[in-house]
């Protein structure tokens, strides 16, 4: 066990999976010689060669299409979309083919495909390098969506995703690559898909969140603890399927729920969680379910001041948490 950066934990998982199983291969733009624009795949081509670490043309629909075909033939492709913003040309392949393959073939064919993509803002990426697109996909049955918040989970969840017999979208917050570090188990380490985890327990308010926002919420919770406000923080880890049981239990624990995500508010994952709680835990609610999310603005601005306005940050989360605690 060693303390590792979030990005190194992901690379760890790729090395581990590719050494273990010859059917696992990676493909994407600049994943080979360059080692990926963020250097996630650095070193892979040297060890596994260009047959298993494939540089592709700038055609996302092709990357995913090739990966689906290979998956159907029994390979376990890990496709990288350089930024989640670029995934849109491949949406037809993902939704119409990958998500439906098992269903359409009556279980004869599966699609053991992983698509990795960095997402999220706050890094001056502007319009085409800052989006959060999980809500676009979580509506679609047949897709799993994973968003880890720690280095250990990144490794454990990526290994679980590669072994999963169905398509998994693995979204990595790019702001976390070299910001988050924690203890990562060596060798085999699996974190099951579909299981949320409590990052902190408290009895005043419940915060349900994922990705980078988990860290902001924890930072605020530590501060509020000194004021006697004790937060209960649930890290979803998997967006689809949502861990219904853990969500309801966490909501019931305090009766006051704040859902936080960087993605736009309207139709976001928070809306689904709020509906779930309203359906199943009405008589445990002590306050209206609150959502704190990105504004319904078409894109993340480049201008630093505007970007700050757009992005969630610890201050905004602190205000929301304090308001809910006071209610």
């Amino acid at each position: 066990m060693a303390v590792k950066l979030f990005i190194d934990a992901i690379r760890d998982a790729l090395f581990h999976a590719m050494r273990e199983d010859e059917q696992v291969f990676v493909l994407g733009e600049d994943v080979g010689v360059r080692g990926g624009v963020f250097r996630v795949t650095q070193g892979l081509i040297e060890e596994f060669g260009e047959q298993r670490v494939m540089d592709t043309p700038l055609a996302e629909s092709g990357i995913v299409g090739v990966a689906i075909g290979a998956a159907a033939m029994g390979f376990k492709p890990v496709a990288e979309i350089q930024f989640v913003d670029f995934i849109l040309p491949a949406v037809n392949q993902i939704i119409s083919e990958a998500a439906k393959m098992r269903y359409r073939s009556n279980n004869d064919w599966t699609c053991p495909l992983v698509i990795r993509a960095p997402f999220g803002g706050g890094v001056h990426g502007a319009l085409y390098h800052s989006q959060s697109l999980e809500a676009l996909f979580y509506h679609v049955p047949g897709l799993k969506i994973v968003i880890p918040s720690t280095a250990a989970d990144a490794k454990g969840l990526l290994l679980a995703a590669i072994r999963d017999p169905d398509p998994v979208l693995f979204f990595e917050h790019k702001g976390m690559y070299r910001l988050i570090r924690d203890e990562v188990p060596d060798g085999e380490h699996i974190v099951p898909i579909g299981k949320a985890t409590l990052r902190k327990t408290g009895d005043d308010i419940t915060v349900i969140t994922y990705g980078l926002m988990v860290h902001y919420a924890l930072e605020v919770a530590t501060k509020l603890e000194q004021e006697g406000i004790h937060a209960h923080i649930l890290d979803l880890r998997t967006i689809a399927p949502l861990d219904r049981e853990a969500i309801i239990e966490a909501a019931r624990h305090t009766g006051k729920v704040l859902i936080v995500h960087e993605d736009n508010k309207t139709g976001g994952v928070g809306a689904e969680i709020a509906a779930m709680i309203a359906e199943e835990a009405l008589f445990d609610l002590d306050a209206p379910i609150m959502r704190l999310a990105g504004p319904d603005v078409p894109a993340m601005p480049y201008n630093a001041g505007m970007e700050k306005f757009y992005m969630l940050n610890p201050q905004k989360i602190e205000d929301a948490m304090r308001n809910l605690a006071r209610f």
Binding site: D203, D204, T254, G255, K256, L282, F283, D284, L285, D286, A287, R326, F327
Partner: protein, 395 residues
């Protein structure tokens, strides 16, 4: 502002006892919407609002008895804006300033749920939430305090069983009414009692033979009671003095026979009336009885249903009783109990012993109106009719 007054709920009714208030101060009230329950003479009626508006004051508390015409509540009418202004000015001049409405406490589902589950009176708690809102934690904290209190209380008190010996049951308005009327009757009316026994073997046969076809045809069970009612009504026609009322100005002999029938519900006794029972056949009486018993048990009796009885017949046999001493139902002069039908060995006219179905009939009379002679003849007639049923009779 409109006044809601105690209405006159029947000819001889001069007062009424308030049951439950169905609206709280501050509630919006629609026209004709029930405001409060009133209990009179064993019937519960709902008083509707004559106005649309807000209930701003309740003047008479639940359980209080007030005379007809007493103001029970005030309603602030809501009218179209054009009309409202002058009305408000006028009412402000006539009445003292109306107290501003208190903001109703708002509770979250969790708080309501906990309060209900643990019987917490939320009015006694003070809230720590926004604008004094009572939070879930406030309720949980109060529960903990109560539990701690219980814990510390335990060793201090010596274990006494007496504390648990007596349980006080609150007196409902209808219970109070029954108590008052029965006390009055037992105190003011000189009761005389008499019992006869009748051989109803033939009646039992008639009922046995008819009950299946009757149920199929009429949809209700054929019990013995309508037969007894029929016989009693016929006897009352011949002895109208049993169907009368004592007053200091003279004895009122009623022309119509309106039979009061005692119906026991879990918490009270009600005595609905079958009007003009003398006009009904056995089948008609069975239907009237079924309808009225259903209304009584579901609490749907109307004032008319409980008014105007002239004689009471009581089916004490249903409880397995063989002898009872009923208290008169004022202002009636007679009340008759039909006891259980029981098979007994009986000595017949020819000195033979046979097993017969026997029933006891117990009557209480107002001795001011009647003496034993008339009552004896009345009971003898009933006995004769009961014993003379034609076993081939179809109901």
């Amino acid at each position: 502002m409109a006044e809601v007054r105690m209405p006159k709920l029947g000819e001889s009714v001069t007062e009424g006892t308030l049951g439950k208030w169905l609206k709280n101060v501050g509630d919006a009230v629609s026209k004709y919407e029930p405001l409060v329950e009133v209990v009179t003479d064993k019937v519960t009626a709902e008083i509707p609002s004559d106005e649309e508006g807000i209930l701003i004051e309740i003047a008479v508390a639940e359980g209080e008895t007030v005379r007809v015409g007493t103001v029970l509540a005030y309603i602030e009418q809501s009218r179209p804006a054009s009309e409202q202004q002058p009305v408000l000015v006028e009412s402000n001049q006539q009445h003292k300033a109306i107290e501003p409405l208190t903001t109703k406490q708002r509770y979250s589902p969790a708080v309501r749920y906990l309060a209900q589950k643990h019987a917490v009176d939320l009015q006694t708690l003070s809230g720590t939430g926004f604008a004094g809102r009572i939070t879930r934690k406030d309720v949980l904290a109060s529960l903990q305090t109560v539990n701690e209190q219980k814990e510390t209380d335990k060793p201090l008190l010596p274990p006494t069983e007496e504390k648990h010996d007596i349980q006080t049951i609150a007196i409902t308005p209808i219970r109070k009414t029954i108590a008052t009327r029965m006390t009055e009757s037992a105190r003011d009316v000189p009761h005389a009692w008499m019992m006869v026994e009748a051989d109803v073997t033939k009646l039992v046969k008639v009922r046995e033979r008819n009950k299946k076809s009757f149920k199929e045809r009429e949809g209700i069970d054929l019990t013995y009671f309508p037969f007894f009612m029929k016989v009693v009504v016929d006897a009352l026609k011949e002895y109208p003095m049993l169907n009368s009322t004592w007053t200091n100005d003279g004895i009122l002999v009623h022309q119509g026979i309106h039979l009061s029938v005692a119906v026991a519900t879990e918490d009270a006794l009600v005595v609905p009336v079958i009007h003009h029972a003398d006009r009904l056949s056995i089948s008609g009486l069975a239907h009237a009885l079924s309808a009225i018993a259903t209304r009584a048990k579901t609490g749907k009796l109307t004032l008319d249903d409980v008014s105007g009885g002239t004689f009471t017949i009581n089916n004490t046999g249903a409880f397995g009783s063989v002898l009872s001493k009923p208290i008169l139902n004022p202002p009636q002069a007679g009340i008759l109990s039909i006891e259980s039908i029981i098979k007994r060995p009986v000595v017949l006219a020819d000195d033979a012993i046979a097993i017969r179905s026997m029933v006891n009939l117990c009557i209480s009379i107002d001795h001011r109106v009647l003496d034993g002679l008339i009552t004896g003849r009345f009971m003898k007639l009933i006995k004769g009719k009961l014993e003379a049923f034609d076993v081939t009779m179809d109901v």
